[in-house]
């Protein structure tokens, strides 16, 4: 990273005062403020997913919980370049995307707890969180399906003449599904404002993706369809932010879709009940050395942010998630009739037969 310029250093913002700890009165540059915010969101995601997995092991959360821990920098770095009105389509490992897009963590936790005031009224759960109020149009339980939905969202944006773009997140396991190949071609053919984000943690569930993938991978595939495609170190939130800024600029300028290939590590199993036993313990240790939060913290300290301030941010995130857990436990279960609403208009209630 470059040192902040003199003009940046002099432009302190309100954010520092409202969000910083008392020790941080030294004005931060815009760049530092931005990175502090990304640091804060990464912490929030990590705290959320630690808590979600814990609650799963305690039996308070059901179904599948796919932790995003180790990959936080990708969602955060990309979403730092999106606006609230932009759309985001996610996949099964989607908590981080929703949080980075601005979804409320308490309502999300309530959703995992299956409660009436969860993001989706307790009807979706971890794999089906959507929050349309922040442009998060859905996590998805079917690998690569969110990507085809994303290109359609972009087509709607174009048809309605809206000033929006769409981000489509997927894992490296998705690169071998046909619909993803279709969608890359489709987005290029219609020059749609879509940023495809491949989060490459090296594993398709429990299988090494490289062992089942021919050719050089997703970037080559995207380039062959005429997309702009770049690889970035997905452990480095600053690098992700910079690269996303470039690609988002390309898309917003109307130059067509782009793909960001971000490499990172999945610290835990495919889901909470996967003990990761098929992985070399040494690999897991190496993975953690690339901790995106630690890396970001180091940069911030080097750039004048007090370690105490960063520590406070982490504690604040954990406290917020503790509050979300407490609120989730206290939240009401959905009323029985909720099971049979929002199926469809025509023939409504015919489920009773």
């Amino acid at each position: 990273m470059q040192e902040p310029s003199a003009s940046e250093q002099s432009s302190a913002t309100d954010k520092t005062e409202t969000n910083g700890s008392p020790e941080a009165w030294v004005p931060h540059s815009n760049e530092v403020v931005r990175i502090v915010e990304m640091f804060r969101t990464m912490h929030l995601i990590r705290a959320f997913d630690h808590a979600a997995a814990r609650a799963w092991h305690e039996g308070r959360v059901r179904g599948s919980v796919h932790q995003y821990i180790g990959e936080e920098a990708i969602a955060v770095g990309v979403c730092a370049n999106l606006r609230r009105v932009d759309y985001l389509a996610s996949y099964h490992r989607g908590h981080g995307h929703a949080i980075a897009k601005g979804a409320d963590v308490t309502r999300m936790m309530k959703e995992l707890f299956g409660r009436a005031d969860g993001t989706c009224g307790g009807k979706g759960g971890s794999m089906h969180i959507a929050d349309f109020s922040v442009g998060m149009i859905g996590a998805n339980g079917v690998v690569a399906d969110g990507v085809t939905i994303a290109v359609g969202a972009a087509q709607a944006v174009k048809l309605l003449g809206e000033d929006k773009m769409v981000a489509a997140f997927f894992g490296d396991g998705a690169i071998n599904r046909g619909p993803l190949m279709e969608a890359l071609n489709w987005a290029a053919v219609y020059k749609l404002p879509v940023l495809f984000v491949c989060e490459d943690n090296g594993y398709a569930a429990t299988v090494r993706t490289a062992s089942v993938t021919a050719g050089p991978g997703i970037v080559a595939r995207a380039l062959s369809f005429g997309l702009r495609a770049e690889t970035v170190d997905g452990n480095d939130v600053i690098a992700v932010d910079k690269m996303a800024e470039k690609l988002v600029g390309h898309i917003r300028a109307g130059e067509g879709p782009a793909l960001l290939h971000a490499t990172a590590h999945r610290w835990y199993g495919h889901y909470a009940h996967d003990k990761n036993l098929y992985r070399d313990p040494a690999e897991l240790v190496r993975d953690r050395a690339d901790d995106p939060i630690a890396g970001c913290s180091k940069w911030l300290v080097e750039n004048g942010v007090a370690a105490e301030e960063l520590k406070a941010i982490g504690l604040e995130a954990e406290a917020m998630i503790d509050g979300a857990l407490t609120a989730s436990d206290a939240s009401p279960w959905p009323a029985p009739q909720a099971a049979f609403t929002d199926i469809q208009d025509a023939g409504a209630m015919s489920w009773q037969k």
Binding site: I137, I149, V151, A156, L160, P179, D342, I343, G347, S350
Partner: protein
């Protein structure tokens, strides 16, 4: 009123809906300059341009996935999947996405799209182009399933389907494309879920849909010669289906024959028979019967394909036998 074909009635309906609502658009293979495999989009790209009548690559998954995305983001797409046989290439997007999004997301979004996919046997196009898949879709919560038989119904039901906030599986029959009939261009959309009583009668109820409507009307005419008054009901919509109308009729006639081209085993006729049997077994004067397709792929060769076509004689003979053999 104007006389037109079943295909032209669909063109008119889509044209009117696109004029009425700028959020309506269509996507699919060959619907642009070609105007669709049966002319069911003829002229629309000239009027509305390639942004709203979109020729797509042969990518059924993305056609449907994109329609879902475009529907949840404020537009009302009509997807053309050509044949029901190719609709299967988009089954995941229909079943796992279109049908479930409103529910999973607790009503934050609706999925107002129409998936057109033609069903039925037609002139030797054989096993992968001849299937009638309506029962598959009826089984999926969240979907509406429509199968119009006349030009007028194709007009009124396509309009209704486009205005519906539910995802609609819209099944036109390939052999009906050239069928001519009167259409009132100014007619209101036909209410989804409403059947039509095509002929009145008190001796037997014949429930059918799609192209079998014509076969059953023919059969009813033949039955008249034997003083049997058959009540033919064209369901028009299979989900939701007009139970009230069917139950009222069978309560009166005491006899029910169901006729459909799709495979009999697990076909939608079985559902109708079960519902009517549960509700009206005391009123029935004999067993409910079905005439439907064999559980076999559709063959190519004409004499073999003919074995898969249900004739009006089969229908009238069966109905006459039911009336003769039933308890008084």
């Amino acid at each position: 009123m104007a006389e037109m074909t079943y295909a032209d009635a669909a063109v008119l309906a889509l044209q009117q809906e696109m004029q009425r609502d700028p959020r309506v658009w269509a996507l699919g293979e060959d619907i642009g300059p070609d105007g669709g495999i049966a002319g069911q989009y003829r002229g629309l790209q000239l009027e509305f341009g390639p942004q709203r009548i979109v020729d797509t690559p042969i990518s059924e998954s993305t056609m449907m996935g994109a329609a879902v995305g475009a529907a949840v983001c404020g537009t009302r797409p009509v997807v053309d999947l050509r044949y029901a046989d190719f609709g299967m290439c988009a089954t995941d997007e229909i079943v796992n996405q279109a049908a479930k999004i409103r529910y999973m997301f607790n009503g934050q979004a609706r999925v107002p799209l129409v998936a057109r996919q033609a069903i039925g046997i037609r002139k030797g196009i054989a096993a992968q182009h001849s299937q009638s898949t309506e029962a598959w879709w009826v089984h999926v919560p969240g979907l509406v399933v429509v199968a119009p038989a006349t030009p007028s119904d194709n007009h009124g039901l396509l309009k209704a389907s486009i205005r519906s906030d539910d995802p609609v599986i819209y099944l036109e029959h390939k052999e009906l494309w050239p069928v001519r009939g009167e259409v009132n261009p100014d007619a209101d959309p036909i209410q989804i879920g409403s059947a039509e009583t095509v002929t009145k009668g008190n001796d037997i109820t014949i429930v059918t849909w799609s192209s079998m409507r014509y076969t059953c009307i023919d059969a009813a005419r033949k039955l008249q010669e034997f003083d049997v008054a058959a009540e033919v009901i064209d369901l028009r919509t299979l989900w939701p289906w007009d139970q009230e109308r069917v139950l009222e009729s069978v309560a009166r006639t005491g006899r029910l024959l169901i006729v459909h081209e799709a495979v009999r085993v697990g076909g939608f006729g079985a559902e109708i028979a079960a519902e009517v049997g549960e509700a009206l077994w005391r009123n029935l004067r004999g067993p409910i019967r079905r005439i439907a397709g064999p559980r076999s792929p559709v063959p190519y060769s004409q004499p073999l394909e003919d074995l898969f076509r249900i004739s009006s004689d089969q229908v009238s003979d069966t109905a006459a036998e039911m009336v003769r053999s039933a308890a008084a």
